[in-house]
């Protein structure tokens, strides 16, 4: 009889179908409840686990909420100054071409102070991966306007909404890097539904594969919530993201590897 199978009998190691990868450390994540950074971290580490490259991978952490990524990702990590992760990753990869090298950066880090490093690393076709978490705001410092903030979106430094007439339109840096010959694979994904989490994992796999095949820089944007900065519950922020972020930052591949 079905009902006679106890929870204890089912919860045996041989029946385990999903649990947090051991490549994530046991440290509690410093992120706000419901923040997409945790899921993005975990998908990257699942792929590295499946590639069996834990000892061969070097990540570069940004400045932003994920500044502490090295506490959570159980691989070799290097901290970069604000926005400089692609330059640091360039140096690491050129010195150690057999290592799997990636940066993990927010939109304030990658598309504001680090725009130059981002564009030039992409243009040079450095053989690295960039994982770019775009939440349209500076999360860590208290929700200031970022280059990716949507028009009319309220932030702590645009309390009446972003005025596009004086601050410009949000920067679609992912579309920009797709135009550069050095990028091999450019895609925009999200981690706000289980289906999207699965797609993001596939994109991360593809990005690392491009690096292993020396195809050039692979760039994966993950549109995510900053529910604290947006001042919404996590569930509301994901809904807001679907309704407001995705029309401007549409999901899907922008450039596929040859």
């Amino acid at each position: 009889m079905e009902n006679s199978i106890s929870k204890e009998k089912i919860c045996q190691p041989e029946n385990l179908v999903y649990s947090k990868t051991p490549l994530m450390t046991c440290n509690p994540l410093s992120y706000c409840p419901g923040c997409g950074h945790g899921t993005a971290h975990r998908m990257i580490m699942e792929v590295i686990e499946e590639l069996n490259m834990q000892a061969e991978t070097i990540g570069v952490a940004p400045v932003g909420c994920s500044v502490l990524a090295y506490d959570f990702l159980d691989i070799d990590m290097q901290q970069a100054a604000h926005g400089r992760a692609p330059a640091v990753a360039t140096g690491i990869k050129r010195l150690m071409p057999n290592k799997l090298v990636f940066t993990y950066q927010g939109d304030g880090d990658l598309a504001a102070i680090g725009t130059g490093e981002t564009l030039h690393a992409c243009n040079r076709g450095e053989n690295i991966c960039i994982f770019f978490v775009n939440n349209g705001i500076y999360g860590m410092t208290g929700g200031q306007m970022a280059p990716t903030t949507l028009p009319n979106m309220k932030t702590s430094t645009s309390p009446f909404g972003r005025d596009a007439a004086s601050t410009g339109q949000p920067l679609k840096i992912t579309e920009l890097v797709a135009m550069l010959p050095g990028t091999s694979y450019v895609t925009r994904q999200s981690v706000h539904t289980p289906a999207n989490v699965r797609k993001t994992k596939k994109a991360i796999e593809k990005a690392f594969q491009c690096q292993l095949e020396k195809k050039g820089l692979a760039f994966v944007e993950i549109v995510s919530n900053c529910n604290s900065g947006w001042k919404m519950t996590p569930l509301d922020s994901n809904k807001w993201m679907e309704e407001n972020m995705f029309p401007f930052f549409p999901l899907g591949d922008i450039k596929v590897p040859k």
């Binding site: 009889m1 079905e2 009902n3 199978i5 929870k7 009998k9 089912i10 919860c11 045996q12 029946n15 385990l16 179908v17 999903y18 649990s19 947090k20 990868t21 994530m24 509690p28 994540l29 992120y31 706000c32 409840p33 419901g34 923040c35 997409g36 950074h37 945790g38 899921t39 975990r42 981690v191 706000h192 539904t193 289980p194 989490v197 699965r198 519950t233 996590p234 569930l235 994901n238």
Partner: protein
């Protein structure tokens, strides 16, 4: 036809009460507890026996606190 039966284990002490796991469960297996964990978060808890082990909740959990188990059941009739 073989049916499946799942079970989840939630590390309630590490749950941050974000509630993202609740609507992704089509079996309505998860709800928020009335109690708080030691960090003061209202944690997620299992409320029925209908889990099919789809892993949706575990995938969406930012803090990776859900483990999923699944077995195949032999149809008896």
């Amino acid at each position: 036809m073989a049916k499946v039966k799942g079970e989840i284990v939630i590390n309630t002490e590490r749950c941050k009460g974000c509630q993202l796991c609740v609507p992704v469960c089509q079996q309505h297996t998860i709800a928020m507890s009335k109690n708080l964990n030691s960090k003061g978060y209202q944690y997620a808890t299992v409320v029925n026996d209908d889990c099919n082990g789809c892993t949706n909740c575990a995938l969406i959990c930012p803090d990776g606190v859900i483990s999923v188990y699944r077995i195949k059941l032999q149809e008896t009739n």
